[in-house]
Each structure stands twice: as C-alpha cells, then as structure tokens.
Point group: C2
Chain length 374, copies 2
Amino acid sequence: MKLKFELVKTEKNTKARHGIIHTNYGSYKTPMFMPVGTQATVKTLSPEELKDINSGIILANTYHLWLRPGEDIIKMAGGLHKFMNYDQPILTDSGGFQVFSLAKPKDISEEGVKFKNHLNGDNLFLTPEKSIEIQNKLDSDIAMSFDECPPASASYKYLKNSLERTLRWAKRGKQVHNNSNQALFGIVQGGPYKDLRKYSAIETVKLDFDGYSIGGVANDGESKADMYNAVDYSIPYLPENKIRYLMGVGEPIDIIEGVIRGIDIFDCVLPTRLARHGHAFTKYGKINIKNSKYKTDFSSIDNNCDCYTCKNYSKAYIRHLIISNETFGARLLSIHNIRFLTKLTEDLRESIEKDNILNFKEEFLNNYCGGQNE
Amino acid sequence: MKLKFELVKTEKNTKARHGIIHTNYGSYKTPMFMPVGTQATVKTLSPEELKDINSGIILANTYHLWLRPGEDIIKMAGGLHKFMNYDQPILTDSGGFQVFSLAKPKDISEEGVKFKNHLNGDNLFLTPEKSIEIQNKLDSDIAMSFDECPPASASYKYLKNSLERTLRWAKRGKQVHNNSNQALFGIVQGGPYKDLRKYSAIETVKLDFDGYSIGGVANDGESKADMYNAVDYSIPYLPENKIRYLMGVGEPIDIIEGVIRGIDIFDCVLPTRLARHGHAFTKYGKINIKNSKYKTDFSSIDNNCDCYTCKNYSKAYIRHLIISNETFGARLLSIHNIRFLTKLTEDLRESIEKDNILNFKEEFLNNYCGGQNE
C-alpha cells in the first residue's frame, strides 16, 4: 500500500499546515524533519536512537546505494528496511543531486547523464528509468523523480530548457515505476523565476504524483530570499491534499519559514554534519563545543532539551570526545542536533494547532538569533 | 569504601577460580573481561550498551586522561564516573605502559620517567607519586602502581634491576595514595624468568596491595609460552583472597589459559580494535567482514550469539558499513566482540562451577581453532 497524506489543519494566519502521513510503517505527523542516512545509516546512530528522538521518515541516497553495496544486494536482503533494520518509513532521493554535485565531469543529454563514479572513476550512466528501477528495488516508501539540479548561477534560458527536460524525465520515470508499496514524488524546478516555478509546478502536477517536492533550493550560492521565493512561487499550484517537500533544507530558520509557506517535510545532512564538526544547536543559537570556554562547563548543551545527550552528558565531556576524535562525541551531538530539529517541528505543529505560528517564529528567532552563533 | 574480593570457588582440576568483586558500583562476578575506554569512552559505545553486553569494570588510561582533558578537569566534574556518565566500576592503569610504548624517546631514572607528550612533543615527567596523584583525582575504583614495562628483548640483568626499581616505585606510590574509595594494585614483573617472577611476586605482596596484576606479558615479540610461564611463575606467591589481574590480554585462548592458571580479570583493546578493522570473533574463529564472500551473506555474524548486533543485523549490512567507513559498523562489531569475550567469561564461570573447565577448553578450542581465521 502506498502512503496517504491526511491534511488535519491549516493555520489561520499563514499557509502552515499540520497533517498525518499514513505509511506501511506507522503514521507520522507533519511538519516533519527527516534525518539523512546517506549510505543506509544515519551517521553514528542506531534505529532505536532515532525512534527515541521521535524522528520518523529518514532519507537514503540512491546514488550512494547504487554504487555501494548495489541495489540488487539490497533487494536480495529484502529491501532497504530489512537491510538496515529500520522499521520506520524511508524516502530515497533520485540520485540526481549527487550526480550533479559529486560526480564531475558530467555529460547531460535527453537520454540521461553520463558521469564518473566518484569512488573509482568508472563511467556511469543514469537515466530517469534507471533511477526509478533502482528505487523500486531499494523498496523505499517514497521514491523521487529523477531531475536535473542546475547550479544557482544558471541562466533563465538554461533553467527553462532544463525544467522542460526534467518534466519529460519525470514522465518517463512515472511510466516505468513499478512498486505498489512505494509513493512517487515529482519535483518542481525553475530556479528563482516566478513564471518558471509556476510553469514547472502546474506541469508537474498534471503528471499526477503522490507528492511534490521543491528542488533546486539548497544549492551553493543561493540566497535565502531566492529559497523562500522559490517556495512562494510554487506552493499555490500544488494540491492541498498532497505532501509538500522542501529538499535539502535543515537550518532551523529555514524550516520555520518553509512551514509558514506551506511545506510539510524537510531533509538535510546539517544536524549530523554539524555534529561531526563539534557544533550543536541550542535555543540561543549554534555553539562550537571545541571552544575553550567549554573545557570546564559541566552543564548540558541546552538545558531546554530532553534528549539523551542533554540528560546525561556535559559540554566538557562532549568537548573532550570531539577534541580527542572519539566518535561517541559525534554520536552524542547527532542525537542532540536531530532532536533539536524534531522538537522544533513538534513545536511548530503545536503552534499550528493554536494558530500562533507567527508569534512562535518571533520568539524562536529572538532567542536563536539574539544568542551566540559560534 | 574500597572494593572487596570474595573467592567463591576454585575449580577441582585446575587453579581456575570463580569470585565476586564487591564495589561501590555493584557486585561483579569473576573471571571477568574488562573493555578498554582509553579516553574515557569505550570507542563507539555508550554506557548503556556496555551494560546490555553484561560487561562490568572498564579500564581507562591515566596517561591519555592526564594529557587530555587533564585530571583536574575530571576532578572538577566529580570524578571519572560522573565525567563519562558511567555507573559501573572503573580501573585506571598507571600510565606506565603508554609512557613506555607511545611516548618515545624516554629517559628513565630512579625518580621517574622523562618523555615527550605524543600529541604535541612537550617534555613531561611521570613519577610513581604523580601517577597515583592523577589516579586519586580521576577517582577510579582501582588504581594501578606505576611500573616499568621493559621490552620483551630485555636482558636478565636489565629485568632484575628494573623490577627492583618497580618495587621501590610501588612502595613510593602506596605511601602517597590517598583515596579511601580506591583500591591500589601492585604489579608483578620479571619477564620470562622464574626466579625473577617469584622474587617480584613475593616482594610486591609484602607491600600489601588490594590486588595484584601480572605485567609485562602483552609486549610485542613475546611468545604465548612466555606469557603462560610468567603467570605460572607468579601465581603461587599471590594471596588467594586478592584479585589477580592479567594486563593487556584479550585473545580468547589466552583468557582461557589465564583463567586455568588462576587469573580473575583481564583487559584488552583487542575487541574494539578488531571491530574498527572489520574483524569479528565467532565460535569458529575470527572472520574478516570485508571478505567479498559476505557481500550477500544475510545471516548474522555468529548465530550462537545473543548480542544486539547478531539479533538485528546481517554480515552483508555490517560489511557495507565497514567498507563505506560508517562508524555504525565499528559500533556493531564492537558490541559483538565485547559480548563474545564477556560470554566467554560467563561460560568459564559455569565450567568452574561444574568442575569441567578442561573439557570446556578442549571443546572451545576445537571449534575456534578448527574454523576460519581470517
């Protein structure tokens, strides 16, 4: 059975929505943040820890799993859920983002993209059909259409041609999609241009996907204004009763702005990547645990936080672990950072129920931006 | 309160003993294997995971914690238990082993050892008094006397002079020891020589420590015969009612041989180090999870094992994690490898109760040595 989205409530003053995603692996409330498990593991964490954090869907990367261990091995294992022992829903991306960011040089044609395997330099060719075939085998709960992710610097003309091709790719992918337990999402492109976003949204929706994502908003060099505009330009043309997904977004502020604009789900490597570098979200901004002022700071990272890390460990201990290259440090910070974002979405849901999301935003930003940013 | 050792039973046919160590953090059965938490963390694992494995005492390294974060910071945190959130007993070594193995060049005098900090090249000086002072501050449950660890190649004459000095160091350390919750152990040295081991054991016991370890048996280049001889030569002179600790030993076979010779506790980095390199203990010998034959092996590492890893994950998945440099792989193998050794000690206790440890040894070795060794 494919997942179903139930829209529960739209906030009074904004486009923010609260809903429920019903899946074969349970029901989950939106807005939701999805941690990234690139290589079939959310770096350093166990499935039980993710549950403990109250995290729901995770994202796995088709490109990485295609190269290693290979989709056929995962299919033999009984699919990604069984392979990685994860009994909550999984979304797989299309591989497009990695092909366009990791695997250079590349050669884009109507048929697909030729590029070099970033691990061993082998020639590879990814097409919309191949991306869907891999995702069908991975047996994730949500598959994404294969799209081109143009750089932020791309011209209007390039973006227009690119999104036309992305639409043709979306259609081709949908035609070969063959997994009755897997939803398939379309992706709206169009860079920072209002007319392109509108056109892309309308044409993508005509193809009738199970959900829609807004892509091309987390590229290097793109401004926050461009990101918010891309959402504003796209949302009016997306159906109310389908999930809306803002890809690659994980800054607390951007999650809030996305939710206010009508986004339901988000994903980003940010919380785990920050963790590995010793950074932690707090109510009063990001901190860098390596700072020497934390040497003898025996308080928790954020005394407003209910996570395992904050309940049991001090900044001084976590600092010691990070400085000493002990992976338990990255694990403790990953738990905290993911919990920070899932807690943020819980608070956003509550503010939607109470119709006070704008007040919530103001208070959150006053604290978050008024504090440290290390 | 200092820990107390209660000898419960000696096996009928050998010197193997089963006992209970009563500590401020609970009571634990011997024989026992102690995982190593070098930098105040057993690499990749949480305290809860160690409990789940049924592990008891862990070892932390005085040398490493002295350099980073420093014993004063750990004292300010309320001691090592509080600092690392570990509510089972902790043993600290003296720093001697690391000074003699990691921190070269060194300059040994009657007063102590001059050497270079292996992290930044600073000149450092460690004395028996300093080692005990650091351990007092760390507030571990068991402190070790500062000893010289001569190389396996050392001459009889060198070893004799060295152990005389180690005896004087042991006495000096005991005189300054000042922590009523911390036991202090003496260390028997003497290399492979029967008369030196006897002399060292008798003279160390005269100093009346809370327990005794047999040192200098896990050096590079030392044979298994030398190791077993060192134990055989020392044990007769150690009191029945005190813990006997074989330092740095963690190969399953050596644990069995040590127990048969009358050893109670063991420590070694082996299970966690093997894990990081993709090796796993099994009933039928060690396996290398990176071998391509495990690519599509969806069975657990060892179907005789009751650990979290074996209950939930396949060889194929763990292989994928290790090959992809995902630390969750090292974590899963660390859980398994430590559980393998703690289970071995549980089985050894049972065989002591049943007076059939020699049969147990034969059966274990038939399986372990008759299988793969990858």
